[in-house]
Each structure stands twice: as C-alpha cells, then as structure tokens.
C-alpha cells in the first residue's frame, strides 16, 4: 500500500494508523495526526484503517510566532 506521509510517498505493510506510525519511527513521539485533511485523535489511531493513496499528516511542536 502506498500512502503519502508528510508529502512523501511511503510503502507500508500496515493498515492501522497506529501501526504505520510505529513503522515510521514515531513511537512515543508527541505528535498529532490527520488523514486526508481530517484530524485523527490519538485514541482513534488504532481503529483508523488507511487505504492506498491516503494522505497522512504527522505534526509535532515547532517554533512559532
């Protein structure tokens, strides 16, 4: 399955958003997620199934004005 993570195409064997995040190295990181422009809360990641072509955003705290 090919998914677009933060603007980069990735191959993933996992379907659940939580598993994809672990696969990509985000375990224990303070991040927030969105799929296809919709916010997905931490508690909802396990039952959020991704499909081919989905767009995933993984955001973290950053400097801001």
């Amino acid at each position: 399955m090919r998914i677009l993570v933060n603007g980069v195409w990735r191959e993933s064997g996992a379907a659940g958003l939580d598993l994809v995040l672990t696969e990509l190295g985000y375990q224990d990181a303070v991040v927030s997620t969105a799929v296809n422009g919709e916010f997905v809360a931490t508690g909802a990641r396990a039952h959020t199934q991704l499909a081919d072509g989905d767009r995933v955003e993984v955001l973290a705290p950053m400097q801001g004005g």
Binding site: V31, G37, M62, Q63, G64
Partner: protein, 257 residues
C-alpha cells in the same frame, strides 16, 4: 493583571519562539522578557529526526503558558484541523487563529478568519484571532465568540511598528472591554510602548527579539518598554495639540509691560 479568557497574567508581553540563533538563546530571552505566554506552532515531524520533541521539551521546562498558532493556514478547513491537532498536542483550548489571505503581506483572510473563529468557538476553543484593525471585522469576530482580538501593527516580521494609529485608537475606543494584543510588525521597544500607551493590553513580539543583535538584551528592553507603556496609559496621557502651550507660567514674566 491582564485577563485572557479565564486566565490572568501579569506580563503584557507575549513572546514568539521562532527564528532565534539557538534554543539556549530562546530560553534565555524568554526569561529576560519575563513573559508568561509564548507562541508555538505545529510542523511536519520526521520519524527519523524528531526535531520537534526536543523543542517541546525545552518549552515545557520554561514553565510558561503556550499559545499555539495556525500559521501557514490559508483556508478555514486547514486552520480548523490544525487547531484540533494543536489542542491535542499542547493540551490547551487556546488557539492563535491565523488564516492567511495574501502571501506578500501575510494579511489575514478576514472572511475565512471569522468563519473559522465561529466553528472553533462553538467547539470550546478560546480563540485569539490574528486580524486587522477593521472595526466591522472585529465586531464579527466578537459575535463569533472571540473574547480577545489580536490586530496587526504592520505586516508580520516587517518591524515597521503601528501602521494605522487612527485605526487602532478607534478599535480601542469601540471595544474598551476587549483585550487587544498587537500581534505583528513591532520592530523596536518604542513601538511596543506606543501600543500600550494608546491602550492596547499587550503585544506579541517575535522577530524583533529573535533577530536582534543581542536577543536576550532586546527581550529585556521590550519588557521595560511594555511596563512603561502600560504605566503611561494608566497615568492618563495628555491630548496632542497643534500649537504651543507654554509650560512655564506666563504671569509675572519679566521685561513685559
């Protein structure tokens, strides 16, 4: 004390956390500014680099409140989704709502802004809208549920100070009870003092401190300016006039008939 929604703070200076020469200088500048609120943002995180994690750890150690922004959002949808993501990560209902309408000036899309403010206010967010000094827009934002306004002084990062004094005075006069925080364009401490002198409640500074030759010293200078400006406003500044008015009494002047 300054009340922002249910929160009361002593400092009338808010500090942005971007564009400092190093994290250590940022931390020192925050302390020197005596601010109680810093702005933060959300950006794409790499699973390999995890640069956001160190930043978040640094900010938490500063012991100040955070005001997350929706910087970079150009639509209502983007801003609302970013606000949801920020609320989860930062654990605060506060959101500095930015919906950018024009890339050269970074001026707000006030139509998208009011719509996003309405949605987020209904969802329980405490919205700090980055807006212009326009009175009608301000009224719409308040009707949408905002209880703080953040009018720009000048375009973000421009350092030009308060471009429309008349407009800001009118905003202050029309909404005397609404906290006004000048959000953008402040370049030097005198601009900040001027904002407070004309009755604005606080200023948010980022570039003017972060990009100064000595950011920590500049942060301290802004802290003094904001305190002086507020004290001046409370002391009741005189009205400007067009002609001279002698300050020394004229009665008893020598060499006059």
């Amino acid at each position: 004390m300054l009340q922002l929604y249910e929160t009361r703070v002593s400092s009338r200076l808010l500090l942005g956390t971007a564009r400092y020469p190093s994290p250590a200088v940022l931390a020192e500048a925050v302390r020197a500014s005596r601010t109680e609120i810093v702005t933060v943002s959300l950006r794409r995180e790499s699973g390999a680099e995890r640069s956001g994690q160190a930043f978040w750890s640094l900010v938490r150690d500063l012991g100040v409140r955070v005001l997350p922004n929706t910087a970079g959002c150009h639509s209502v949808k983007e801003a609302v989704t970013t606000a949801h993501m920020a609320r989860e990560v930062f654990g605060t209902p506060w959101i500095k709502l930015e919906v950018i309408g024009e890339d050269d000036t970074l001026q707000p899309d006030v139509f998208g802004l009011t719509e996003a403010a309405r949605i987020l206010s209904q969802e329980g967010f405490e919205v700090f809208p980055y807006t212009t000094e326009d009175l009608v827009v301000a009224e719409r934002l308040l009707a949408a549920g905002c209880r703080v306004l953040m009018p720009w002084g000048a375009p973000i990062g421009s350092g030009r100070g308060l471009n429309n004094l008349l407009g800001l005075r009118a905003l202050r006069a029309h909404f005397p009870e609404v906290p006004l925080i000048i959000d953008a364009g402040v370049g030097v401490p005198s601009h900040a003092a001027q904002a407070l002198e004309l009755g604005c409640d606080a200023v948010l500074i980022n570039t003017a401190v972060a990009q100064a030759g000595k950011p920590v010293a500049m942060a301290a200078a802004f802290a003094q300016a904001v305190e002086a400006g507020r004290a001046a406003w409370e002391a009741g500044p005189i009205e400007p006039r067009d002609f001279a008015a002698p300050s020394t009494p004229v009665i008893g002047t020598a060499f006059r008939r």
